[in-house]
């Protein structure tokens, strides 16, 4: 039997809870990348091989750091209730995400996967790439929801909020990745 209108009762967690509890999945996905960053030293010492695509890596890092602007902007707008305005920022982040995916793929050929550095580089960056795929899909979902059913978007603002938190985590993770794989 189908019943409408039990959603409030059946999913009563307040905004604060939905945002706060999102910390736990973020922790899990963060530990994975942190573990791999540590593993880089175990498998490939500290030297960065000649072929590594430093230019692209640095470029992607700059994109990520710059993306903090629209991300923080969107968070601010959401908390002030300017949901329509936040959608523009989400679009910018979406484009940045697509760029990141393309950029990551473009670095893969640089060092062969069979070498110690290449193996750990490819696995870690590939995994982060998957996060970006997830992030892009999540941004797209929020955008489409915001355009198609603005009332629902505002009713469950925590979703967009968590998507932005995830983006913030991506900035952190990517920067850590860059430092560990290109600078250390």
């Amino acid at each position: 039997m189908a019943v409408n209108g039990t959603n409030g009762l059946m999913d009563p967690a307040p905004e604060r809870a939905k945002r706060g509890a999102f910390f736990f999945p973020m922790m899990f996905v963060g530990i994975i990348v942190a573990a791999w960053c540590l593993a880089r030293f175990m498998w490939a010492g500290t030297s960065v091989p000649k072929g590594a695509d430093f230019g692209v890596g640095a470029g992607l890092t700059i994109i990520m750091i710059l993306s903090l602007g629209p991300m923080l902007g969107a968070r601010g707008k959401l908390s002030r209730g300017q949901d329509a305005g936040a959608l523009g920022n989400l679009t910018v982040l979406l484009l940045a995400g697509v760029l990141m995916i393309a950029g990551i793929i473009s670095t893969w050929g640089a060092v062969p996967i069979g070498s110690a550095y290449g193996g750990i580089y490819d696995v870690t960056s590939g995994w982060i790439g998957l996060y970006f795929v997830g992030g892009v899909l999540a941004l797209l979902a929020s955008l489409m929801k915001g355009k198609r059913v603005p009332a629902r978007f505002s009713g469950e603002r925590w979703v967009a909020h968590n998507v932005l938190s995830f983006w913030g985590e991506l900035v952190l993770l990517w920067t850590m990745f860059f430092i560990v794989f290109y600078l250390a």
Binding site: M10, D11, P12, A17, K18, G119, R148, F153
Partner: protein
């Protein structure tokens, strides 16, 4: 026990819904269809493009991933979640029987599906165990039964499935996800859809592992150690992918456990008032979130060595031992994911059966948390034979300190029973048996952790004895106890008490007859994981095998008991065990909406408030506006 206002009140919008019709099963069939088509389609196309055959690692991997996606998409996740998330049409929440056969955000439906999955996996993995014991009836490897290669595949499948498809989710999934919100006074978990998804990851993973012999099987046992992994059959890709999927599922549950406990407790439920069982779940959830990443990455890197050409564990730059570190990083703590909820379940059932508060409640909680913390640091005790001498005393010492918090939990349980007049229902009996078995399991663990002893005992039947006492003897006994205890909650009927007790004794006797001799076998020098053994071990092995056939056949009793009681068992009273716990405040079988709208609960004491004259721990009052 007085009934509360809430117990008597009818709940709107929950009345059973339409009766079951076969068309309700369609989403499950669709999921299977999408899954198989996805698997074969993708594997076949990959094989064509890579000029190889579909049983090779790469096509099998791609096939698995596409098949998994197909299965999940077929489950009803599109209308249940995705369409809505992208701003599409909202679908009504399904409150009738149909939610059991499709993607659903109702944690109760998810939990019930967990129970069906765990029982099915238990039966199949149990058949594998019987196959192992048939092989071991004779010292040589027989011509008419499994070949040595098939024997290896069989124990690998048995081990992996019993651990990850049964023990990991039997109590946490089937009971935990059902009770967690109710015990906390919440109407659902924090991320209900994520929890719904967690179940749908299980069946494809289990099917892949069980089917792995079709693409060459794997010979490594449930460890998946390289370099053997890379050299012993393409079926290992189903091992790595299956394990990674099952871990993901566990983590999705763990996230819900922790999030719900932190953010959704009823008013007044301070840390000291959280039910013991919920503390057990808390331990499991924490372990999974913090420690699963190491092992999860290990399985993926193992896979990458096979299909992408990296050399993490093999070849000139590989470190095979790094895999052991990663693998045991979670898989030692994982045993506490199995057993801490079982401990906690004793501390839920025994106080009620004895109508007494938990003895030294806070010490019990400290014990559970202490085991969680120390247990995070001891994985190395599983491969003392492979590490440098410096690591031995360190990990020996840390491991042995786990006895201290374990002692707290045991003393809590024993103190509760001391001098009590226990009402020995089948669940209470099973808990006592589980405690007996765990005593042996835990004490033999101390020998394992002792390096000089372990260098002799490692990889012998002694270890097999040890972990069957802890897992089959404790976790599965407790699982049955929990199933019988909360059966009236979920179905509104009682299990047949005579057959429940009859089987408890059957299980206890044949369990001990099967596994106690294994300690002797191990000391006498019988290796694990080898299809042949020396003739002087023959008589004892025959005894073990025959006992195990009785043990295995005995599981038909609870199976029949649960099924028959479900159809036609005695109607259960509102609160059959006289429990004060919050889950019994809602009617049985639990309606879709656990607690009716308009009332909220305030917690004034722990749910084991059985002392004479103690107040009822949960007080209901009309919801105050604007809270």
């Amino acid at each position: 026990m007085a009934t509360t206002d809430v117990q008597g009140r009818a709940v709107a919008g929950t009345g059973g819904g339409a009766p079951f019709t076969w068309s309700m099963v369609l989403p499950m069939v669709r999921a299977g269809l999408f899954g198989f088509t996805g698997y074969f389609g993708a594997a076949w196309i990959t094989a064509m493009l890579a000029h190889t055959v579909i049983v090779n690692p790469l096509p099998a991997t791609i096939g698995y991933l596409v098949g998994l996606l197909g299965w999940v998409m077929g489950s009803g996740i599109w209308d249940g979640w995705i369409r809505r998330a992208f701003g599409g049409e909202e679908s009504p929440s399904l409150t009738g029987v149909e939610r059991y056969f499709r993607f659903s955000s109702d944690p109760k439906a998810t939990a019930v599906r967990y129970i069906f999955f765990n029982i099915t996996a238990f039966l199949f993995a149990g058949l594998a165990a019987m196959a192992i014991r048939i092989e071991l009836l004779t010292p040589d490897s027989t011509g008419w039964w499994l070949s040595e290669v098939h024997y290896n595949q069989t124990f690998g499948i048995h081990g992996l499935m019993m651990l990850l498809a049964v023990a990991a989710s039997a109590i946490v999934g089937g009971m935990g996800y059902y009770l967690l919100p109710m015990m906390l006074g919440a109407r659902t978990v924090i991320f209900p859809r994520l929890l719904g998804l967690s179940w749908w990851l299980l069946p494809p993973a289990a099917v892949a592992v069980f089917m792995s012999p079709l693409i060459g099987g794997f010979q490594t046992g449930w460890w998946g150690y390289p370099p053997l992994a890379q050299n012993s059959g393409a079926g290992i890709v189903f091992y790595t992918l299956g394990a990674a999927t099952l871990l993901t599922s566990s983590v999705l549950g763990g996230i819900n456990i922790i999030g719900t406990i932190v953010y959704m407790r009823a008013k007044g439920m301070s840390l000291g008032r959280i039910p013991m069982f919920v503390w057990g779940l808390f331990a499991a959830g924490t372990i999974l979130i913090v420690e699963a990443p190491a092992t999860f990455t290990g399985t993926l890197m193992d896979l990458s060595d096979m299909i992408l050409g990296s050399h993490f564990y093999t070849g000139p730059t590989g470190h095979p031992l790094a895999y052991d570190d990663q693998f045991w990083w979670l898989f030692h703590p994982e045993v506490y994911v199995f057993v801490l909820p079982a401990f906690a379940l004793w501390l839920e059932i025994l106080p009620t059966a004895a109508q007494r508060p938990v003895f030294a409640r806070n010490w019990g909680i400290a014990g559970i948390l202490g085991i969680t913390m120390i247990g995070a640091m001891v994985g190395v005790h599983h491969y003392f034979t492979a590490v440098s001498a410096e690591r031995m005393p360190i990990f020996m010492t840390i491991t042995e300190t786990i006895s201290i918090p374990s002692g707290f939990v045991f003393l809590s349980a024993l103190g509760t029973l001391w001098g009590a007049r226990l009402k020995l229902s089948s669940p209470a009996l099973l808990c006592l048996m589980a405690m007996m078995n765990f005593l042996i399991g835990g004490l033999t663990g101390i020998f394992n952790a002792d390096v000089p002893a372990d260098l002799q005992l490692h990889n012998t039947y002694w270890v097999i004895g040890h972990f069957h006492y802890t897992i089959l003897g404790s976790v599965i006994f407790s699982w049955l106890a929990g199933l019988y205890w909360w059966f009236p909650k979920a179905t509104g009927r009682m299990v047949n008490e005579f057959w429940a007790k009859f089987h408890a004794w059957w299980f206890f006797i044949f369990f001990n007859m099967t596994f106690l001799p294994m300690f002797v076998l191990g000391i006498e020098g019988m290796n694990r994981r080898i299809a042949v053994y020396l003739p002087y071990l023959h008589p004892l092995n025959e005894f073990v095998s025959i006992s195990s056939f009785f043990l295995g056949a005995g599981f038909l009793i609870p199976l029949a008991n649960l099924l028959i009681s479900w159809r036609s068992g005695k109607k259960a009273p509102q609160n059959p065990w006289g429990s004060k716990s919050l889950e019994w405040h809602s009617p049985s079988p639990t309606p879709y909406i656990v607690f009716p709208e308009g009332s909220d609960v305030t917690v004034v004491g722990p749910n084991d408030n059985y002392a004479a004259g103690a107040p009822e721990p949960f007080v209901w009052a009309p919801t105050t506006a604007g809270k």
